[in-house]
Amino acid sequence: MDTETKYRVIGTRPLRPDGVDKVTGRAVYGADVVLPRMAYGKILRSPHAHARIRHIDTSRAEALPGVLAVMTSRDLPDVSASSVAMGEGGDMNMRYASNNVMAHDKALYQGHAVAAVAATSPHIAAEALALIEVEYEVLTPVLDVRKAMEPDAPLLLEELYTDTGGEKSEKPSNIAQHLIAEEGDVEKGFAEAAVVVEREYVTQTVHQGYIEPHAAVAEWRADGQLTIWCSTQGAFAVREQCAAILQHPISQIKVIPTEIGGGFGGKINVYLEPVAAVLSKKTGRPIKMVMDRAEVLMATGPTPGGYIRVKMGADAEGNLTAAQAYLAYDAGGYPGSPVSAGCTTVFAPYKLRNVRIDGYDVVVNKPKSAAYRAPGATIAEFATETVVDEICEKLGMDPLEFRRKNSAEEGDWRPWGPPYTRIGHKECVEAAQASPHWNSPLEKEGPDGKRRGRGVASGYWMNWDGTSSCTGRLNPDGTVSLLEGSTDIGGTRASIAMQFAEAFGVDYEQVRPMVVDTDTVGYTDVTGGSRTTFGTGYAAHELAKQMQRDIIAKLASLWEVAPESITVNGPCYASNGNSATLQEVAKLLEENGQHVAAAVTVKGHNSSGAFGVHIADVEVDPETGKVDVIRYTAVQDAGKAIHPSYVEGQMQGGVTQGIGWALNEEYAYDEAGHLRNANLLDYRMPTTLDVPMIETIIVEVPNPGHPYGVRGAGEVPIVPPPAAIANAIYDAVGVRMRELPMSPPKVCEAILQKDE
């Protein structure tokens, strides 16, 4: 059946239910929450990248009029090294998480929290911070991942040993983990190759860059009930982390998620919530804490830079014969970089039989890294996709044809996972080959001596399934209240309600979706891992089916017919001459004292991940090294696009973040480990002037693990841009860029070196 006509609701573009609030300034975000008697918290942060905390004197701060309480890590319970599953953020050691919230004996990065103040106004709290005296023993910082791996490097965590397949190293190390994945025989594979290319890559730390700074309000009541309002990707993840860090019963913590002003992976870990909770307990008042932008950049987020080496070989016919990767990612001050995801995705687009991958998770004196849109994949695939471009050049092969020929398919091997189920990489390559962009010639000469070039790259992200819950109630007027645990960052109230409406046989407008707190709906994993429209949509589908069964059972009893005799056609129920629309059913049930309500939880349906193929045209100014993206097309397999505008929006937003990562964004540290660009002028995210319109082509290869074939759409599009742009730069000016960002000085230098 033609998918265009198969569905009534899916594939249409209705307005989002939260839209009017968001275009009129009424939507309530984290910093907009106000409670009676509320006071304000602020955090004192370490000015040093690596220092032992000798002593903290808070007495002068406490004496300032208006100050209500001061806290340090002594006010946090001693948390044993238990771990909490954080979904896409990986498992988190809660002792490290506690120490990251407030430094215990050592500050491990500039901006690491060391104390906090509650006061009657944020200005007084800020004044009080200046009165706290901290005695530091400043230690040598380690900022570079390769230097941190050297045997004599200064140690960040004296008790950290390298874990290699469960084996601990003999001596403490900054390397937390060494991952190995092997398949086939790489030496044999390289021996069979006609062309082998091996290259090294260096990339820098970048930030998610959500426009809303972190914000939280906590109220710890005298009976021990703790309520937290915060901007988060996962209310349940906040509840679990706070329960562990505060050693407080999980049943006594309620997390109420506000609207969220962007997250991209960076609003999963807690920073302010436990601090606000402790200050609330100490003061007996609700405490509001809001970060400023410098705090956001210095102490939250980022995703690692790293050192990557990729070696790939192909035979004369253009078949890949072997691939090898070495990935060392900087985790920040505590273990937990996304290097395992980097290892999983580094060769994802390709059919490979001989592979060796080594991944290293390395602590350095930078903020503890957090998830960022396809965590770990972008820099890994930057390496692979530019090596593939060189192989194509050496073999004289078209880069899209090479990708089509070597494309991974259903049943192919992948590291640490079952073989691929049905995937759509090849279909994306073919759609790119057929695209208007690929079939439009590019004039190589630009204005004023500028040179133009075109590049392509593939990208993959795995679409995490996780757990999702939904609760539904049929209202007396025939509408449905749909309660969800997934925070809505980009229109998922709509995409989930659309799947419910489709399955329940009603119009989208009949469904009223709501994002609710942790006491009101079942456990739901974070909005991350490209899982929400996939996983919570799946739960909404199951909920609709369950509510339908319940309606049939109740109608059968009222109509005195066999349940199996009742037929359902859209919103109409009928049997043996009885018939009723859903609206009539709802009224009938109400009149008979009956109520239809259901709650479902869906966990762990196999998801197969999604691919994208991008085409970038750039214009390079050889005089300055400035690169402008002048045309861009993103092709992506969405499985089934529930709300095509929102899928396009994910693709365009991901591409733009990828363009920023490719060309401008980086953490600029000096040798002492001080971040020199902790503001949004110098941390240069793309503006309207830095990007063209982004053309999108949605491919739909249904995901066998979802009732409507949905694949996660959010993360894939950030993966290909750096490689597509690097390949386009080569096409334009003949230099191979192997460092990110490909900023004007680097491109200029590469051009000058080539000319010599």
Partner: protein
């Protein structure tokens, strides 16, 4: 002139979204802080605190400004429009409606600033080119959309408003 009081606070009055409004604030409070924390107008957002992101954009005497970069006491006697003052939930402006129809917002946090800025553009220039829209909105950061759908929404609203 704003009136300095003994408490260290200053009495300030201005017209905000058409309503005569007065407040007391400390001289160090920014206009954004007063709008949000003293007057409950939380539609204007703080994304950076130093004029880099545009999430706090308002109109002050018809001029587009970053309200985080101005002290509230300087607003004495002025006429201010915030996002809450452009359209109502029951009667959206063409620009607000086009933002929804064109999916020009994802998280929605930067949206108030974009709406105020874009409205200021369309008030001056009813038929802007894509380049003119991009230049005008370059002071507003959005991390979600890649700007494509925002630019299209402004183009569509402009066309509708021209009739």
């Amino acid at each position: 002139m704003a009136t300095q009081l003994v408490s260290g606070k200053v009495a300030v009055s201005a017209t905000i979204n058409g309503e005569p409004t007065a407040w007391l604030c400390e001289p160090r409070e920014t206009l954004l802080e007063v709008l949000r924390d003293r007057l409950g107008l939380t539609g204007s957002k703080e994304g950076c605190g130093n004029g880099n992101c545009g999430a706090c954009n308002i109109l002050l005497d018809g001029r587009l400004i970053n309200s985080c970069c101005m002290l509230a006491v300087e607003a004495e006697g002025s006429t201010i429009t915030t996002v809450e003052g452009i359209g109502r939930p029951e009667g959206l402006t063409p620009l607000q409606r086009c933002f929804l129809e064109e999916a020009a917002l994802q998280c929605g946090f930067c949206t108030p600033g974009f709406l105020v800025a874009a409205q200021a553009l369309l008030d001056k220039n009813p038929d802007p080119t894509e380049d003119e829209i991009r230049w005008w909105l370059a002071g507003n950061l959005c991390r979600c959309t890649g700007y494509d759908k925002i630019v299209r929404a402004v183009q569509k609203a402009a066309a509708e408003m021209r009739g």
